[in-house]
């Protein structure tokens, strides 16, 4: 392959492919880190699975404990929902970052050419 074509192919085909592969891995890593599927599956489970068994309890105690267990589930749901939200935000941020980076990357050679032309044209 002649060198100028090879340069074009390398910068506009090969390198973007590599960058896209890295972005894809980053997104997967984030998904794995936040384990959102797992958080969704366990959304309404008690926080840290901290639940008290109400067997053999008086009705009064049972009511109190059931309330505590409900609170534990609520805490679990809030924390997990929060984590899911943070996870989604992180994913969107990564995608935006990837888009900006990719644009700058592709524009760099053009930018240098524009700079040279503007320098000589006096603008």
């Amino acid at each position: 392959m002649p060198m100028p074509i090879a340069l074009f192919y390398w910068w506009y085909v090969l390198k973007p492919k590599e960058l896209l592969a890295i972005f894809e891995k980053l997104l997967k890593k984030e998904l794995s880190f936040f384990s959102m599927d797992l958080l969704l599956k366990t959304l309404f489970l008690p926080w840290k699975r901290d639940e008290i068994n109400t067997d053999n309890m008086s009705l009064q105690d049972k009511g109190r404990i059931l309330l505590m267990n409900l609170v534990s589930r609520l805490v679990g749901a809030v924390v997990r929902s929060g984590t899911i939200a943070v996870g989604i935000t992180a994913l969107i941020a990564t995608m935006l970052g990837a888009f900006v980076l990719m644009t700058v990357f592709l524009a760099l050679p053009i930018l240098s050419v524009v700079l040279i032309i503007s320098a000589f044209s006096g603008r």
Binding site: W10, S35, L39, T42, G87, P109, L115
Partner: protein, 835 residues
Amino acid sequence: MNFDIQSAKNFQKIKTGKFFLGKFFKFIYYLSLILIVFCLLYLMDQYGAYYRTIFFPIVKVIFAFAILVPILDRFLVWYFTPEANLQSDNMAEGLSREMSEVVIEAIRFARENKFQSLEPILFLAAYEKSHDGKYMLLRCGFGLEKDASALISDAVSRISRTQSENQPLVSQNFVDVMQAAKNNALASSRNEISSGDILVGLIEKSDVFKQIMFEIKMEEADIKRVVEWHENLKEYSRKQSLPFWDKEGVGGIGRDWSFGYTPVLNQFARNLNNEVEFAGHINVYGRSNEIDEIERILAKSNQNNVLLIGEPGIGKQTIVKGFTERVIKGKTLPSLRYMQIFQVDTGALLSGSSESGEIALRIRQIFNETVRAGNIILFFDNFHALVSKNEGVGQVDTSEVILPYLNGAVKVIGATSLNEFHKNIEASPAVAAIMNRINVQEPSSQETVQILEEMIPHVEYRDQVFWPYQSLREVVRVCERYIQNKPFPQKAIEVADEISVDVAKSGGKIVFAKNIDELVSKKLEVPVAQAEGEEAKKLLSLEDFLHQRVIGQDEAIKAVASAMRRARAGVQSKDRPIGVFLFLGPTGVGKTETSKALAESYFGSEKNMIRVDMSEYQEQSSIYRLIGSPPAAGAEGEKGQLTTAIMDSPFSLVLLDEIEKAHKDILTLFLQVFDDGRLTDGTGRVINFTNTIIIATSNAGSELIRERVMQNQTGEALKKDLLDFLQKNSIFRPEFLNRFDEVVAFHPLSQDQIQQVAEFMLKSLSKRMLEKEITVEFTDSAVKKLASLGFDPVYGARPMRRAIQDKVENLLANRMLSGEIARGAKVTIDETDVV
């Protein structure tokens, strides 16, 4: 297939690339990076104030070039990086960049020296250009212990020369080496011919290289192993330096926030996921079947407990770590994703309280937490301690406590030995039934070499020593042959670790095979090195050494000495005892003395002789005294006298005295020992006899020997008659006699030999007296008289010691006490003194 480096695209790329990828362009690259920063700062700072000034366009141009230069630099690196093509007909196209440079260097060397052809040996001269190649040659021990330069110079001098510096022709042998290297690259699924492949090609096709490697004790299989080892290390380094997005793994914050707390478990257990994740990578060799089996069992809904059974040190923990690694990397069945493996410290769990109730409560808490957490697998090393019927320190029976949890609620991996399984776990049938057994076999010596390969770089870094491959192989050889009380890989790891420290302590930088032999010989008190030098000379004249203690019996001594030479030269089978002999002959002719002399010569001391009086084993029931009895549930079995002695001292001479008196069933037991060098004792352990010399003695046939010797019938004829006699009289069965390496007839002693025995014993007495600074001499007539007094037709020379005690030692003692003999005295004992 051909090899034409000149027309290869890679070669062209390397030649042109040298200009672009040189130091000048590197300098420009870094300068541009700095300029980018400066230009950016300038443009940002001065944009408003100096707009349209003369400097502004110049800065723009510099900035533009500063952006373009790094892009171009990276592009040129990519463009001029040779791309190997193994499918091309021109094999030079398949070379890696490093190997292309090696070949270019070899061609340059050949031209400079006006060689007519390019020969494979020139690779060695050019390997300076290959970092990997140099490293692998060093691992092969090249240039470390033996100097191969003479061999190389000789081979190089045999290459024909021309008058001018023309391009050398590629020899057929060179092409053959390249073809073999290419085949190896393809077989190893590599996409280029690397320096390791060339080494394999050289060992397969180059006679000179083969000879050099033969000199440093490296064979084809060893070279291939070194190449594989190096590739593994490179792969390990590559994985370690991967960016975080390329590293495998599942879980994270979501996993932590979806499962439960385990405060009590955390006190008594460590999280293996964290440990394995921190270590980066665990290599587990030859255990994929066991790990698959663990995965299958744990993924079940019920009876999802595993019990790994194998001797301590066999690698049960490594298997669990290998399984943990799979979990961490998400390479397991879906039901095991997000699991965390906790190794419970059984000792800590069962200690710190005298109340068994408190321990049971602890265990219940741990299991409850595990159930609640929802993603924990418990691993108990020494699982038997949890269900032991012999309650005591560190052992309790909590089978009733844990049983309800083992039925699907908690996933448990236990590890124990076969002995402990029979003794403790089988005693709790419900627990034994609920655990799925996986028998863990000892790794082979080849797998152990691979395990050592993984360990050695860490040891080298720690002790700042270098391990050539031969030393690694020697560790495994010595451990396999001489250390029987521990399994692989533990024994090899321990020996390698100790030797490395030992060499570093003595200021050495390289661990040679001789260091290993010396250390193991010292520890085991047996010579483990191949017989060389002084020792070889001693072996060749072993008959003389044995004759220093044994008078006459040339035939017996010759047979024994030959067996010894076979053993030390490594000719004999490794799966049999070193030697198995039957000594036949009357009492007092030197059978025991020969055995003692042999123990001294081979094992260093006559103390390394295990003497078993077989007349004590006349009853069939006495077999258990010899080999031990099996353990009953919850109780230890009886230890066997012979098997325990061999376990304690595996390098011994076993003297089975008066073998004919033992019960027939006991003799049958020895058939396996004589044949395979092993015996299963009463407790189920296999006792290794391959490092023993076994000598059975018997008086059976003494009369026949006496008669035949009187008739001057010796040698093979006597042996044949003797064997017929033993079989006809049903003293020994043919299959028993056939198991001996040699059946040796000890002849009755002649009058001359009796006198020599007397002289020998008196010499020993004189030596003892000399220590007290008293010189004692004996006249010939005194020796003769003592010889006749000490000889008995039935007991041979056995009464000799008593005669010398009575007639000489008593005399000397009395005279010393009465003051007749003082320090510095010279005493001559004559016939008249012997009364």
